[in-house]
Amino acid sequence: MTPTEIRAAASDSPPSRSVLRRFVESRNGLGLLFMLPAAAFLLCFLTYPLGLGVWLGFTDTTIGRPGIFIGLENYAWLLDDPVFWLAVFNTVLYTAIASVLKFGLGLWLALILNERLPFKTFFRAIVLLPWVVPTVLSALAFWWIYDSQFSIISHVLMGWGWIDAPINFLGDPGAARASVIAANVWRGIPFVAISLLAGLQTIPQSLNEAAVLDGATPWQRFTKITLPLLTPIIAVVMTFSVLFTFTDFQLIYVLTRGGPVNATHLMATLSFQRAIPGGQLGEGAAIAVAMIPFLLAAILFSFFGLQRRKWQQGGQD
C-alpha cells in the first residue's frame, strides 16, 4: 500500500476507527501509549506485590494454607505484642543513630577527600570497599570480630592488660545494639561519603574564592556556602541511607538473628522470622506493612524538611 492509498483507506474508515487513529496520532495519546509498557511493568512488579503484601496482612494466611480475611486482627495482636514493640524501638533507634553517624562521618570523609590529597583517586577507590563487599561477607567478618570467645578486639585488649575477660559484644543488649550499629555504619559510610563528594565537586570554586577575599573563615565558608549548596544532595542521600538502614536485614540475621532476647530484632528480621520459618505469612506481612508509615515519614521529612527551603529557590528564609 502506498501512503496515498493508506490515507484514502483511512478517510473511508468508520468514525470509531478514526477516533482511534486520532488518539494514536495525538501527542498525549501517543505519549500514553508509550508509557503503557512501563506502567504494565510497574503494575506487575511493584504494585501487585505491594498490594498482595498489604492484603496478606489482613488475612491469617500461613505457608501451605490460603487464609481468610480477618480484618485488623493481626494488627491488634501486634499492638499488644511486646516483641513487636521492641522491634519497632530497635528499628527506630538503629536507624536514627546509624544515620546520624553515617551522615557525620560520611560528610567529614567527603570533605577530606575533596581536599588536595596525594593518591586522591586511590583513596577514593579504597573508601568504596565496605560498600562493594557483599553484606553477608562483611557481616560474617564482623561476626568473628564480635564473637564472645574469639573476638580480635577482646584478644588485643586482653593482651594489653586493659580488660580481664572477653567483651560480651553480642550477648549484652546494650553492647549488642552498639555492635550492630557500628557494623552498619562501617558499611554505610562509603555511600554517603562518595555521594556527598560528588555534590561537593559541583560547588563552584569561585564562590569560595570570593568568600576568602571577603575575609570569611573556613568555618564560615563551610556553613554559609558549602552546606547550603549541598542540602539538596544531602536530602537525597540521607533519604536513601535512612531507607537502607530501616530495612536492614542481612547484617542482623548473620550477627544475632535478633538476639540476645530480641534486643536487636528489627522489623524486617521479625517479619521474616514469623512469616517464613514460622509460617505465619499474614502476621509477617502485617509487620512489613507496619514499616511503611515510618518509611513514608522519613521520605516526607527529608523532601519537605531539607529540600524545600525558600532560600534554595532564591527567596528569603
Binding site: T62, I63, G64, R65, P66, W77, D80, D81, P82, V83, D147, S148, Q149, F150, A165, P166, N168, F169, L170, G171, P173, A176, T256, R257, G258, G259, P260, V261, N262, Q273, R274, I276, P277, G278, G279, Q280
Partner: protein
C-alpha cells in the same frame, strides 16, 4: 585409622549383619508389593546432607533402585531451612517434587495433600521391630500414616573427660541435680560448660525443650490448651538460671555454630551437639588431643524421671499430586530394605538415628563408644509442642523461639520468671488459637 577407613571396614560388617540378622526376619514377614506405574520417574526434594557418607549411601541406594526398576529418581537439595517453604508451596500448588524429605511437623502443615502410606509403614513396622513412638507420632494422624518416619538427628552431651575428672567427678552424673554440681565444679576449675541461649535453631531449641520437659513442664495439653504456666515450668526456669550462672559468658548471643567453635578451641569443656562436633575434632590432626578426650552421654534425667529430648526429626512425605504414587512407595520400600537402610545408617556415621527398633543392632552404634548416646535419640524423642497436636501451631511456636526466648529472658534477668512465663503464654495462645 582415618574415619573413612573405619567406615569402609565397618560397612562390610554392616552388610553381613544386615543380611544375617534382619534379612532372616524380612522373609518371615509379608511385605506388600508396590508395582510402579508404567514409565514412572520420581523427584525427591531433600535437605542438604550434613555428612558426606550419608549422601553417598543414599545416592548409591537410589542408583541401585534405578538399575533394578528402570525408574529415574532426580534428587534436589535445599538448605535445611528452605525445605519447609518449598515443600509447602509444592503441596498447595500441586506440582513440583513427588516426595520431600522434611523436618519436624511438616506433614501436618498439609496432611490432606499427602499419600496415605499406612500399608507400607505398617508392614515396615511389623518387619523391623516396630517404630519408635516419638517418630511414629511425627508421621501419623489418627491411625493413618501420612508420612514415613526417616530418622532422628541425635543430640547428646559432649564433654572433655579429663576436665570432668579434674573437677572431681569420676562418672558423668545422670540426673539434673548432679549435673548442676558438675557444671559448678567445672566452672570453678576454669573449664566451664556452655549451652546456647541465643537464636540457635537446632541447639537452642534442643536445650530449651530439654530444660522444660526434664522438669515435667509442657507448653500445651492434649487439646492444645496452653498449660506452660505451671510449677514445673518455674522449676525448670530456676534450674536454668543456676546452670546459666556456671556457663562461659556470652551464651545468650550464641547461634548454632558457636558452641562447636568454643568447644573445639578449648574455651568450653561441656556442651550438647550432634556427633558432628566429635568428627570435626577427629578429622583435624591438630585437634587429636581434644578428640581423644571427648566423651558423649545423654542429657541428664530430671524430676520427670525419664530421658526426654526434642532432637531434629525427618520424614519422607509423598505428595498426592504425584502421578506415580506406587513408584514412590516402591522407592521408599527399597530404601528401607534392611541392607540398604543399614548401609545408609553406616554412611551417616551416627548422625542419623533409626526410626525402627531392629536397627538398634546396626554396627555403627557399637563401632565407637562415642556413638552410643546418639543411638538412643529415637527412644528419648518427644514430639514438638508436647503434649499438644502437631501442626502449624507447634511449628510456628518453635520457629518463633517462644521457649528459647522464655528461658533467655529469665536467665539474663531481662524479665522475672513470672513475666517470662506470662510472655510465653501470650505467644503460645496466639499460635494455638483455634
Amino acid at each position: 585409622m582415618r574415619r573413612r577407613d573405619l567406615l569402609k571396614s565397618s560397612a562390610g560388617l554392616a552388610a553381613l549383619a544386615g543380611l544375617g540378622g534382619l534379612g532372616g526376619r524380612a522373609f518371615a514377614q509379608e511385605m506388600p508389593t508396590f508395582t510402579p506405574e508404567e514409565g514412572a520417574s520420581l523427584r525427591l526434594l531433600r535437605w542438604v546432607p550434613f555428612v558426606a557418607g550419608e549422601e553417598e549411601a543414599w545416592n548409591a541406594n537410589t542408583q541401585a533402585f534405578t538399575e533394578a526398576t528402570g525408574i529415574q529418581v532426580q534428587i534436589d537439595q535445599e538448605s535445611w531451612e528452605d525445605v519447609r517453604p518449598k515443600a509447602a508451596v509444592a503441596a498447595n500448588v500441586g506440582s513440583g517434587p513427588d516426595m520431600v524429605m522434611s523436618w519436624f511437623d511438616d506433614p501436618f502443615q498439609y496432611p490432606d495433600k499427602l499419600v496415605d502410606v499406612t500399608d507400607l509403614c505398617t508392614a515396615l513396622g511389623e518387619r523391623d521391630g516396630g517404630w519408635y513412638d516419638g517418630l511414629r507420632a511425627y508421621a501419623t494422624q489418627g491411625d493413618r500414616f501420612i508420612a514415613v518416619p526417616l530418622c532422628a538427628i541425635g543430640n547428646a552431651i559432649c564433654y572433655r573427660d579429663s576436665h570432668m575428672q579434674a573437677a572431681g567427678f569420676t562418672e558423668f552424673p545422670s540426673d539434673t541435680a548432679g549435673f548442676l554440681e558438675l557444671c559448678k565444679a567445672m566452672q570453678a576449675n576454669g573449664t566451664p560448660a556452655g549451652f546456647p541461649h541465643g537464636k540457635a535453631v537446632g541447639d537452642g531449641n534442643n536445650y530449651a525443650h530439654w530444660l522444660l520437659w526434664s522438669h515435667g513442664g509442657m507448653t500445651v495439653d492434649e487439646n492444645g490448651q496452653v498449660v506452660i504456666d505451671s510449677p514445673e515450668t518455674r522449676a525448670a526456669i530456676e534450674y536454668a538460671k543456676q546452670l546459666y550462672a556456671t556457663f562461659i559468658p556470652g551464651t545468650e548471643s550464641w547461634l548454632d555454630i558457636n558452641n562447636n567453635r568454643a568447644f573445639l578451641a578449648g574455651e568450653i569443656s561441656l556442651t550438647a551437639n550432634g556427633v558432628s562436633l566429635y568428627y570435626a575434632a577427629k578429622n583435624d590432626p591438630a585437634m587429636a588431643e581434644i578428640a581423644e578426650d571427648i566423651r558423649t552421654t545423654n542429657l541428664p534425667i530430671g524430676p520427670v524421671g525419664e530421658s526426654v529430648e526434642l532432637h531434629q526429626t525427618s520424614t519422607i512425605n509423598i505428595f498426592q499430586h504425584t502421578p506415580y504414587p506406587n513408584a514412590a512407595k516402591a522407592y521408599v520400600a527399597w530404601m528401607f530394605q534392611p541392607d540398604n537402610f543399614n548401609r545408609w545408617l553406616e554412611g551417616a556415621s551416627a548422625y542419623c538415628c533409626q526410626p525402627l527398633r531392629a536397627y538398634e543392632s546396626n554396627p555403627v552404634w557399637s563401632s565407637n563408644p562415642i556413638h552410643v548416646p546418639y543411638s538412643k535419640a529415637s527412644a528419648s524423642l518427644r514430639t514438638n509442642g508436647y503434649a499438644g497436636p502437631l501442626g502449624p501451631a507447634s511449628a510456628g511456636a518453635m520457629a518463633d523461639y517462644v521457649l528459647v526466648d522464655m528461658f533467655a529472658e529469665a536467665v539474663t534477668g531481662q524479665r522475672t520468671t513470672d513475666d517470662a512465663i506470662a510472655n510465653a503464654v501470650r505467644r503460645l495462645e496466639r499460635y494455638y488459637r483455634s
